[in-house]
Symmetry: C2
Subunit: 243 residues, 2 copies
DNA sequence: CCAAAAGTGTTTGCAATACACCCATGC
DNA sequence: GCATGGGTGTATTGCAAACACTTTTGG
């Protein structure tokens, strides 16, 4: 299949493990002929856009290639086109070593995706190790991937304050404390539990179930689910209202 | 100069004329051999990205080509990659008629720019008429340019609520009422003058001058200017403060 | 019975809203 | 002197923030 040579897609895959916000990264270790490590760092997952392929589809394809997951929340957040993106010495060494057929200048469309980290069980991809990293304990990153990741995080934070996308990072059924930990992890803040719950209580699309946690060694928490239908309805109502 | 064949940049040029928020559009009228009009609509201004050119630079180049202006506020807001972007019959007719060498599938990076409409005096560009249109009186648009424009406006509204970018649309010296009209035009709302001024008064980067309007047939308004220095400082202070 | 997290109300301060009249200028 | 927009203060309401103790379960 033909590719568009100067265009790629990079995916920032965010996952929440009920404690930290994590990013899924792929090991990039380069060995010389004697199997000594020349350098070792990590990359986001990305790929070319195919000829006649919408970059949105490419992003879905790339995410699915790596994780096997479908129907994942994805958001295009920025396009990176600096002419210096791939020109660092280390990056050129890597490209030459693998004989990758990459032009000097590739423009990359950035997407982030939100998944429940517990749903993903990947150990390696194309012989490269795959690992979660908490966003405040990142390893060294290849190319301009640190820039891409920081921008993704910035855009995620903005989006999170405007739309209830956080639930994409949780299991279908969740507790209110999990929601709070999630918001704290993404925004890097602490919230007061009572005030946070008061706010959630006003969001009618967070609907309580007749169900509680089991086998926890403390008072079991009520479970909730996120109703997209109720959310869309309440949003329309709001738009109808103000003029 | 070589181009990247599948990549282009489209610019949504917003201008404010102290009453409406406007977009600068370029006439696209197609004539047949007898000089009858086949169709007539408008386009945003866009162009290919050159080989080895950062799309950010391409956007600056395109804006400058059209308006002759430099140092204009520009913001990349979304990348459009649908495979159907250019496939409407009208658009294909246009492409064939002008013998434009455009592939079937072009991905376009969208930028919006903010300028004081009074600074721009363009009548035509490449033999095509150039006109301002108020955003709530748009003509029919070519390709997917309506989609692009709506997205630009949506992103502008979001940005405007977070950063004081509105001043880019005003002259260096402006009155508080002009600021209010601007915000009303962009956000499509009305504000109470007293409350609006109270809010502006808290923004120390809106600094009063010892100067008033002249030759207006009403009480002359005090003039203000936007200080980026003060804004950046106050922003840093705020970040230092919360943790 | 102890550890661990769930769950719950009230007070306080600040920010957003609503609202009406006088002022300075050009014609 | 009149039409036009400039400019100003106060009272009310709603929302965000601060804050401490009891409850339920498993081990």
């Amino acid at each position: 299949m033909d590719i568009i040579p100067n265009l790629s897609v990079d995916c920032v895959i965010f996952g929440f493990d009920s404690k930290n916000l994590n990013v899924l990264l792929v090991d990039r270790t380069l060995f010389d002929k004697n199997k000594n490590v020349v350098f070792s760092d990590f990359t986001l997952t990305g790929n070319h856009v195919l000829a006649g392929e919408d970059p949105d589809e490419a992003a879905v394809r790339i995410l699915n290639d790596l994780t096997g997951l479908h129907d994942i929340y994805m958001e295009q957040f920025h396009t990176f086109g600096s002419t210096e993106r791939l020109t660092r010495e280390k990056d050129q060494t890597w490209i030459n070593h693998l004989k990758l057929n990459i032009p000097q200048h590739v423009i990359s469309v950035g997407y982030y995706s939100l998944i429940d980290a517990n749903k993903v069980k990947i150990k390696s991809h194309n012989n490269r190790k795959v690992r979660w990293f908490p966003i405040n304990l990142l390893p060294e990153l290849a190319f301009d991937h640190e820039l891409i990741l920081r921008k993704a995080l910035e855009m995620l934070r903005i989006k999170l304050r405007q739309e209830p996308i956080g639930f994409e990072l949780l299991a279908d059924k969740f507790t209110l404390t999990q929601v709070q930990r999630l918001y704290e992890a993404i925004l890097g803040t602490k919230f007061d539990a009572r005030n946070f719950r008061k706010k959630l209580a006003q969001m009618h699309y967070v609907v309580p179930l007749d169900e509680k946690q089991t086998s926890v060694r403390h008072k079991p928490a009520k479970l909730y689910l996120f109703s997209r239908e109720v959310y869309e309805r309440s949003r329309r109502d709001r738009f109808d209202f103000d003029i």
